[in-house]
């Protein structure tokens, strides 16, 4: 059944959400790069004396500073999940309703397996994306508590100390590091797939999803009755 549609411009991503998104993406980029270097420092043959250099310490410093930015940016996003617009609301992410699960199944059919060709009409996140972000948020949390748990051993400040319990809980610093390290890979894989899917949706649906994280606007079909 052929229908006529027009595109309607909708303000979806409020400025704080966009700001959060790009700051977050930047933090993760920096954390993954510095973290990878911490885990696998390159072989630099050097004749210098140790006192002349501090580059590895600097890499770690950047990691820790960025970690704080990352964490509080994330805390801010949680706050915005309660006060932001309906697309920013926390309930976008948690599949409470049966329809959320049904929606996810449909997305899989349409976008992943490509058994159906009709795009789903959703303004904010589709339910699968929302759920993925939910998982991602949990991983943000895990990464933060393992990170600050590890950091608590090198810090005298009260804040990282709040997380010191995680280390014995996981069975030691090595376990905490192993988890922290593996989770880095989760972010890398997520970013791959996420960026691809954003491009994919833009390409297939033409609703300006990429630019929506810039200006906040999406273009949504509306049927012409």
């Amino acid at each position: 059944m052929e229908k006529n549609t027009v595109l309607k411009r909708v303000y979806v991503w409020q400025l704080p959400v966009r700001f959060y998104h790009w700051l977050n993406a930047l933090c993760i980029l920096i954390l993954a790069i510095t973290g990878y270097i911490i885990g696998n420092p390159p072989a630099i043959q050097s004749g210098t004396e140790a006192f002349k250099g501090y580059w590895f310490g600097t890499v770690r410093f950047i990691h820790f500073v960025t970690a704080f930015v990352f964490f509080f940016n994330f805390v801010f996003r949680i706050y915005w999940g309660f006060v932001g617009n309906r697309f920013a609301k926390w309930n976008n992410f948690i599949p409470f309703k049966k329809s959320d699960w049904k929606g996810m199944l449909r997305i899989i059919m349409i976008d992943i397996l490509q058994k159906e060709s009709r795009p789903l009409r959703k303004i904010g996140h589709n339910s699968l994306a929302g759920f993925t972000y939910f998982i991602l948020f949990i991983i943000f949390l895990l990464q933060s508590i393992t990170g600050f748990g590890l950091y608590s051993a090198m810090s005298t400040s009260w804040f990282p100390k709040l997380f010191s319990w995680i280390v014995p809980f996981l069975g030691g610093d090595l376990q905490a590091r192993q988890l922290h390290h593996v989770l880095m890979w989760f972010f890398i894989l997520f970013a791959f797939v996420h960026v691809y899917l954003v491009f994919y949706h833009d390409y297939v649906e033409g609703r300006g999803i990429i630019s929506s994280m810039g200006g906040g606007w999406k273009f949504i079909e509306r049927e012409i009755k």
Partner: protein
């Protein structure tokens, strides 16, 4: 039998120590334990009035290196500990009596000094198969430990065996080796991990109990804070090399000869809580890292299963030994990239019609503005 034991002071007098040296000794002991000068008077008093503390030292699944480490102590030397400070009433390694006579020594102490003796446990306790994997005098270690713990004033769990299970508890733990803290509750337990612990940490813990008449402050894992609150890495003398990014790449390479950091050959210093780098071993002579080998994390729980020792990242459970999390994740990453590529190609085939339709129909006709209000 009437106990008429000399106090430390008396014991030292008997050794020909004069009052002045005795006070010096107390001050020095105070300095060792980090007591301020005002607290030294307390030590003097304690040493003047106390009888020797009865100690029962049990041996479970162990290699006896904790006992061996103990006798290496330099301050105090162990001869003084066992002749002047404690009454080591039972330890299979050193006691004169065997068999029935040994058991008698044990029984005498747990009955005569009920509630007063310190129980030291060296080794893990096998709980598999009814405890048959470690029996002494026909009784299982588990039976003996439970009995001895009953009347103990406090328990000291020596070494990684008694605190975490150590090598016998490494996968697949064939005998059900179990640490003290998982079997005994309702008693203060001082966990002194390490494989073995540093000698002076061991005698330091005992001296602490004797001198201050209370167990040392413990961290959340029951370890004395005085010895286990820092990572080896935090006090490692190679740390400047770490911060400067100067690493040994393989053993005995140029960098090794310059004493660079051992991080990349697997050093567990960054994840290991112990005093090695501060106190060093065998009276301050060296410690693993100073002698060119990375820390293997011997005071940590499960350190045997965190191998291989020469990789900074351990191998990933269920995968071949030489594969770390990175290798596995890179493989997953490659698979994902391939998946994305395949998906992109399929998209261009299967969604072709839809994309074309939209491009050709040019749908943008009417644009309405919707306010970003909270109506969701």
């Amino acid at each position: 039998m009437k106990i008429n034991s000399p106090t430390y002071w008396e014991a030292m007098q008997a050794k020909g120590v004069n009052r002045r040296d005795f006070l010096k000794y107390c001050a020095w002991l105070g300095a060792l334990l980090g007591i301020e000068a005002s607290g030294v008077g307390k030590i003097v008093h304690a040493m003047e009035t106390k009888k020797r503390l009865p100690v029962i030292w049990l041996h479970g699944q162990e290699c006896t290196c904790c006992s061996e480490s103990f006798i290496r102590s330099s301050h105090p030397v162990v001869a003084n500990v066992i002749l002047d400070d404690i009454s080591l009433d039972y330890t299979e390694t050193l006691m004169a009596a065997s068999g029935y006579q040994a058991e008698k020594s044990y029984r005498d102490t747990i009955t005569k000094y009920k509630g007063e003796y310190i129980l030291c446990m060296e080794g893990a306790i096998p709980t598999g198969n009814g405890g048959v994997y470690c029996c002494i005098g026909g009784r299982s270690m588990e039976q003996i430990l439970k009995e001895a713990a009953e009347g103990a004033k406090a328990i000291i769990a020596w070494g990684n065996c008694a605190t975490h299970g150590c090598v016998q508890a490494a996968k697949p733990n064939p005998t059900g080796a179990t640490p003290v803290r998982k079997l005994i509750s309702g008693k203060p337990i001082i966990n002194v991990p390490g494989c073995p612990p540093i000698a002076e940490v061991m005698t330091g813990v005992i001296a602490h109990v004797l001198t201050f008449d209370r167990i040392p402050a413990l961290d959340s894992m029951g370890r004395p804070k005085a010895f286990y609150s820092r990572r080896v890495h935090d006090s490692c003398y190679r740390r400047p090399n770490y911060d400067a990014g100067l690493f040994v790449e393989t053993f005995d390479d140029e960098n090794a000869k310059k004493g660079y950091c051992l991080y990349k050959v697997g050093c567990r210093g960054p994840v290991t809580y112990n005093s090695c780098a501060i106190m060093k071993w065998n009276n301050g002579v060296s410690y693993p890292i100073q002698s060119g080998h990375g820390c293997i994390g011997c005071s940590e729980q499960n350190f045997w299963d965190n191998g291989p020792f020469y990789k900074h990242l351990p191998s990933f459970p269920g995968f071949p030994i030489e594969k770390t999390a990175d290798d596995i994740c890179i493989a997953i990453g490659a698979a994902t990239a391939a998946g994305i590529a395949a998906h992109a190609i399929t998209t261009n085939i299967r969604k072709r019609a839809e994309i074309k339709e939209k491009v050709e129909k040019g749908r943008i006709k009417n644009i309405e503005k919707e306010e970003g209000v909270n109506n969701g």
